[in-house]
């Protein structure tokens, strides 16, 4: 009995560093966020008080939040689909017997290892009107000079391009690992039967990559709602909220408008939305996925 107790004490002692860290920085703040979403933001004159679901009702009358949500949905779709397609294509290329493929692999992966802030500064320069890379190309092709990041119509797509550029290389690594796990005999067996490369990809490779696609899809979706670093450098959500995304809006609400309760409410809302999206994706694709 005594020995058993000692075991328990050891176990808790060993768990405690992780528990304390997780508690302090993850679980307690989450719970506090949930609580404060039911209270008003306190000021000197009006101390914080319980307001029930009033904060949540506010969400639906908030035109800027709505715009951020619409922006974010477009941002998610327009980044995820192309970066998955690109990632598969790049993985297929670097998996083949290309000479110098190690270099190509590294080149594809480089964007991923660069810090987002540094990347944003590079792209800021690319997008600079008149002297930036984009404008140089555009004017050489006979188009008019553009203020890429200053124009409501182009700004979000410019941000999307950066994200695709950065994420595709990252996802490629997962696809590459999966491709290298597919035994080469499968390809040989299929080719002996007269299968074309495309037919083999459609019937064999792509279905076998499904678990990776599911993983990448969920990750990419979460990322698209979580990534804000580049907005700080590039646009600050502007012009006129045209590149405002949900998390950036939450940040602004909390730290620029100092309305921490409303920010907490938005956070909880986002959390639930993401959980539901992940579950739906998982259930939808899990049926079509073959795990080894």
């Amino acid at each position: 009995m005594f020995k058993n107790n000692l075991h328990h004490i050891y176990a808790w002692l060993l768990l405690s560093p992780a528990l304390i860290l997780m508690g302090t920085f993850t679980h307690i703040p989450s719970i506090l966020t949930l609580i404060s979403s039911f209270f008003s933001t306190g000021t000197k004159k009006f101390p914080s008080k319980f307001v029930g679901i009033e904060n949540y009702e506010m969400i639906f009358d908030d035109p800027i939040f709505l715009e951020a949500v619409i922006n974010n949905i477009w941002y998610a779709i327009a980044t995820i689909v192309p970066s998955i397609i690109l990632a598969i294509l790049m993985a297929l290329i670097v998996d083949s017997k290309l000479s110098g493929r190690v270099l190509v692999r590294m080149a594809y992966f480089t964007p991923t290892i660069l810090p987002m802030i540094a990347v944003s500064n590079i792209w800021l320069f690319f997008y600079t009107p008149e002297i930036g890379l984009m404008d140089q190309i555009a004017t050489n092709l006979g188009f008019n000079s553009q203020n890429w990041l200053g124009d409501k119509d182009t700004v979000l797509n410019c941000i999307i391009l950066i994200t695709i550029w950065k994420e595709a290389g990252f996802f490629m690594i997962f696809y590459l690992a999966a491709l290298q796990n597919i035994p080469p005999e499968l390809k040989e067996a299929a080719f002996l039967e007269g299968s074309s490369k495309f037919y083999f990809f459609r019937r064999i490779t792509f279905p076998l990559l499904m678990p990776i696609t599911l993983f990448v899809l969920i990750n990419a979706t979460l990322n698209s709602f979580k990534l804000v670093d580049h907005l700080f450098i590039l646009t600050k959500g502007g012009p006129d909220n045209a590149s405002n995304l949900i998390l950036y809006y939450i940040y602004e609400t909390a730290f620029s408008f100092l309305d921490s309760s409303y920010a907490a409410t938005l956070t909880i809302f986002l959390l639930f939305a993401l959980a539901i999206i992940s579950i739906v994706q998982f259930m939808f694709f899990d049926k079509r996925t073959h795990y080894r």
Binding site: E188, A189, F191, E193, G194, S195, R203, I204, L208, R292
Partner: protein, 357 residues
């Protein structure tokens, strides 16, 4: 010209020699086994015939036509891989008819063929299972079914039974053999198991280090090995090879201070070969001591000390009881083989007298 012919076929990877100057002739409907130790180039030869690798030099002919530059899929060949190469996400049925779908065979025809083949290999009630839900033997059958449903005249198999247990292997051996005869397939079969090769093959091609050592019917290879490599490779235990010494009077077996002359007229140093089952234990002959007994059921393999060399004898296990530690061995001179000591090549002019005792 034979149905399949390899003419001076070589394959190099940079400096690595996989096979060199292979010449093989295969008739239609023949069961040919490529046999040899690990790394001797069996798989490479098979893959060259399939077109999965290109030859470095030489020519491969199928039906009289040079196929060096013809795609694997146009060579009318099907193949069974050692790992089976089943598509893990497709069920048994989809795996078997994969090739038919590629070739756009009509659904009705597909189902008829599927039913036929599934019955033949005994998979009829497993068609909806995934490969992961099958036993090793069942997976093997799926691979087999996929190979024969295409009705190609040629089938290649790379160690198809090596992942199965001994009993199943035995059963599959005869099943493959009878399928091959029934469908009149020309089968090229790779194995490193000499028992498998002997029991299945119409013809064995024995390879070592990328070169053909000997080819012929199993009986020929067993009874008339052309060199010491073949002699050592076939048989279990393999042929005894006894190093002889030479004097003016001829070759002899040195047994410490004594000399047992092999009366054959040769003045160069030779190796004497004798199969374990051809050694008789008798009242007179050459004196040996028994080192060890290996009981194998109906037979016992004795390991005998002959001078400073060790040899094996296979005898009826009923006779073991009577044996002392000291025995005398004898043999019929017709069962002796003689090989040149330097080259290992069989001495074709073997002339024997009786053994001295």
């Amino acid at each position: 010209m034979s149905f399949i012919e390899l003419m001076n076929v070589s394959k190099f990877w940079g400096d690595v020699r996989a096979v060199e100057k292979l010449n093989i002739k295969i008739e239609e409907g023949e069961f040919v086994v490529l046999l040899g130790p690990s790394g001797c180039g069996k798989s490479t030869t098979l893959r060259l015939i399939a077109g999965l690798e290109n030859v470095s030099s030489g020519g491969i002919f199928i039906g009289g036509k040079n196929v060096n530059n013809i795609d694997p899929s146009s060579r009318n060949i099907s193949m069974v891989f050692q790992s089976y190469a089943l598509f893990p996400h497709l069920n048994v049925e989809e795996n078997i008819i994969f090739g038919l779908k590629v070739r756009k065979v009509k659904k009705g025809d597909r189902q008829v063929k599927l039913k036929n083949v599934a019955e033949k290999v005994g998979l009829s009630n497993l068609l909806k299972r995934k490969p992961a839900e099958l036993s090793g033997g069942q997976r093997q059958r799926v691979a087999l079914a996929r190979a024969i449903i295409s009705e190609n005249p040629i089938c290649l198999m790379d160690e198809p039974l090596s992942n199965l247990d001994a009993k199943l292997r035995h059963q599959m051996r005869s099943e493959i053999r009878s399928l091959q005869k029934e469908l009149n397939i020309t089968l090229i079969y790779v194995t490193h198991d000499q028992t498998e090769a002997m029991s299945m093959a119409d013809k064995i091609v024995l390879l070592n280090e990328g070169e053909i050592v000997q080819q012929g019917r199993p009986k020929e290879l067993y009874e008339k090995p052309e060199n010491t490599f073949t002699a050592k490779f076939l048989g279990n235990p393999p042929m005894n090879l006894i190093n002889l010494e030479v004097e003016r009077e001829g070759n002899y077996i040195p047994i410490f201070e004594e000399k047992y002359f092999i009366k054959q007229k040769s003045d160069k140093k030779n190796i004497l070969g004798i199969r374990p089952e051809d050694i008789e234990i008798s009242k007179k002959g050459i004196k040996c001591t028994i080192n060890d007994l290996d009981y194998q059921g109906s037979d016992v393999v004795l390991s005998l000390q002959l001078g400073n060399q060790e040899i094996y004898a296979r005898i009826d296990s009923k006779k073991v009881e009577e044996l002392d530690n000291q025995v005398y061995i004898n043999w019929n001179n017709n069962n002796l083989h003689l090989f040149d000591f330097e080259s290992g090549v069989r001495d074709v002019n073997q002339i024997w007298d009786a053994v001295d005792s």
